[in-house]
């Protein structure tokens, strides 16, 4: 089946809610039907056909979104398995929210809440991401619950907030409060990590090349260890093409911190050594 292209023609002055794409995919709407649909743009309504041009059928497994700008929110929300959405350009908030097994690639950067509440599948952001990556929207009790989220650049504060499962990889630096209220899963980075890492962390693994600027006060230093599960984890970490492939696949020596005791947590912060 041939690839389908959606081109954004708008000015980027107003925020655009991309949930229409999820609905169109579910209902298998034709480009003609979509073009006639209306969309709220600021305080006004507009036809989707006026700001997007669609070529090909949405039933295609691969869809490309061209000319994307930071004004496009909810790009790839709920993308199901078997679908690939390639985004050319930057994205707004909530990129890949509740991703349901699909594959989402963004060639630029994403604003806040990228991959929040994602369930399965993979998101790859070629540049940077904002705050609450892999986190949870306000009111939800669990953040990212599965899949892989790879950021080739930096991520902001509260990365992995309330994360429940899955693998969150940041090739660059991570901001403050990484792993805040984390329930389980793995967050790893190749760069530096900011203040208050692991705050209120219950379970899960933070795996970094160097000690964060500060660690939540409820962590205990457990000493240096060779952990047998790390080579298994390394296979997952090294699978996609990224800076993580420079890590040795059999690396297993780490400094281990356990916490956060303030919430009776047994999360671990591991720092590569040796």
């Amino acid at each position: 089946m041939s690839a389908t292209t959606i081109e954004y023609k708008g000015s980027g002055d107003h925020r655009v809610n991309m949930r229409w794409l999820q609905q169109a995919l579910e209902q298998d709407l034709s480009p003609k039907e979509i073009s006639k649909s209306t969309l709220n743009l600021g305080s006004e309504q507009t036809l989707l056909g006026d700001i997007f041009s669609i070529t090909g059928k949405l039933s295609a497994s691969e869809i490309t979104l061209k000319n994307s700008t930071p004004s496009l929110d909810y790009v790839g929300i709920g993308l199901p398995s078997g679908r690939t959405l390639s985004v050319e350009g930057d994205c707004g908030h909530y990129l890949g929210q509740q991703l349901a097994g699909g594959r989402l690639i963004c060639t630029g950067s994403a604003l806040h809440y990228a991959g929040c509440n994602m369930q399965a599948g993979s998101i790859e952001i070629m540049s940077n991401a904002g705050d609450y990556v892999g986190g949870s929207i306000a009111g939800n009790r669990r953040g990212m619950a599965g899949g892989r989220l790879l950021i080739h650049g930096d991520s902001g504060d509260f990365t992995g907030d309330l994360m429940r499962r899955g693998l969150l990889m940041v090739a660059g630096n991570i901001g403050d409060h990484c792993g805040n209220r984390m329930i389980a899963g793995t967050i790893t980075s190749m760069g530096s990590v900011g203040e208050n890492a692991g705050n209120s962390m219950r379970r899960g693994t933070l795996l970094f090349p160097s000690k964060p600027a500060s660690i939540a006060t409820g962590f205990s230093d457990c000493g240096r260890h060779s952990l047998g599960f790390l080579p298994l984890l390394m296979r997952d970490i090294r699978a996609p093409e990224s800076a993580f492939q420079t890590l040795h696949p059999m690396r297993r020596r780490v400094q281990r911190y356990l916490g956060d005791a303030s919430v009776d947590g047994q999360g671990e912060l591991l720092i590569w050594i040796g």
Binding site: H225, D236, P249
Partner: protein, 324 residues
């Protein structure tokens, strides 16, 4: 006499078949019978360690007292050594196969043996070695040994448990697969002396041990106390195979020729009929390589008249000869 049609493939020069009557390979008579085997449930696990020494300690311990389901509930053995590149955690490993009569027993025995023999063994970790038809617990219940300090990690759709122990962490996969399999495939070797039958069996065992998907669960792979179904004592379901006991030669039920002084059995458990066929063939080939000149008189199979199980491995069919 006619030449056996597959002689050139095997490479023996002294193979003769008298249709429906005789199959001699290198002077060794292959009896026209079948070895009887029965269905089982099997699993494979992979034990790794800091080196082969410790991985093998765990594997040998957990496969101890696992010769026969009659008395041990499970039949288990080491399948083969695994290189670093073949194990999930990149360390030296040992593949172990376990066979039991049903899934529940297999699971119970597996957990008991992992808990007592692998968890306790320094530096080891244990992983699933079979996809199988279904899943049975491996570390799923063992994790409670961690007393709340255990943590799990899901990698590539496999869940692993990390249990804190005094040498660091015991890593074990949550479940392993199981599948239907076959137990009790066998060969009976007749020779003119004990030393000769041992030599022949050792050769067969060495040849069969090279194969994947099978184990020889008895000590060293050989069995000297072959059994028949039933006994004169009502409480016993099996008893000594007195027709094959050389010290009872001459008695009415005994079938041994006067020149046979020792009989040995090799029992084989395998994951499939094909695996057992190949193993028995390799075993027979190795024994017949020694031939009658080395005192080997006959090879037969444990045939219990269909009382033992539905799988019948016809020796002559396995060797590609004619069936009667």
């Amino acid at each position: 006499m006619m030449k056996w049609k597959n002689a050139s493939v095997v490479g023996w020069s002294n193979i003769h078949v008298k249709k429906h009557k005789l199959m001699n390979i290198n002077g060794v008579f292959i009896e026209d019978t079948f070895a009887e085997a029965f269905p089982m449930r099997a699993t494979r696990i992979i034990i790794t360690g800091i080196n082969y020494k410790w991985a093998r300690h765990a594997a040998e311990t957990m496969t101890g007292f696992a010769t026969s389901v009659i008395g041990c509930k499970v039949e288990a053995g080491i399948e083969r050594e695994l290189g670093n590149h073949e194990t999930p955690d990149g360390r030296p490993g040992i593949a172990v196969l376990l066979f039991a009569t049903d899934r529940k027993t297999l699971e119970a025995q597996l957990q008991a043996r992992i808990g007592q023999c692998v968890l306790t063994c320094p530096t080891t970790a244990v992983f699933a070695g079979l996809e199988g038809e279904g899943q049975i617990a491996l570390g799923k219940n063992l994790r409670y040994f961690g007393d709340g300090y255990q943590t799990s990690k899901q990698v590539d759709n496999h869940r692993y448990w990390r249990i804190p122990v005094m040498d660091g962490e015991f890593l074990c996969e949550e479940t392993t697969g199981y599948q239907t399999a076959i137990g009790g495939g066998n060969l009976l070797v007749f020779a003119r002396s004990l030393s000769q039958v041992l030599l022949a069996c050792e050769a067969a065992i060495d040849a069969m041990s090279m194969l994947p998907n099978i184990i020889l669960p008895f000590p060293g792979g050989g069995v000297r106390s072959g059994s028949k179904v039933g006994s004169k004592y009502k409480t016993l379901s099996a008893s000594t195979n007195h027709p094959y006991c050389p010290t009872l030669k001459g008695l009415p039920d005994n079938v041994l020729d006067k020149n046979v002084e020792a009989v040995m059995e090799i029992v084989i458990d395998g994951l499939s009929i094909e695996d057992l066929n190949l193993a028995m063939r390799r075993g027979i080939e190795a024994i017949c390589d020694l031939g009658k000149a080395q005192g080997i008189e006959k090879i037969t199979g444990g045939n219990y008249g269909g009382k033992l199980g539905p799988h019948h491995f016809h020796l002559r069919e396995i060797m590609g000869g004619d069936q009667t």
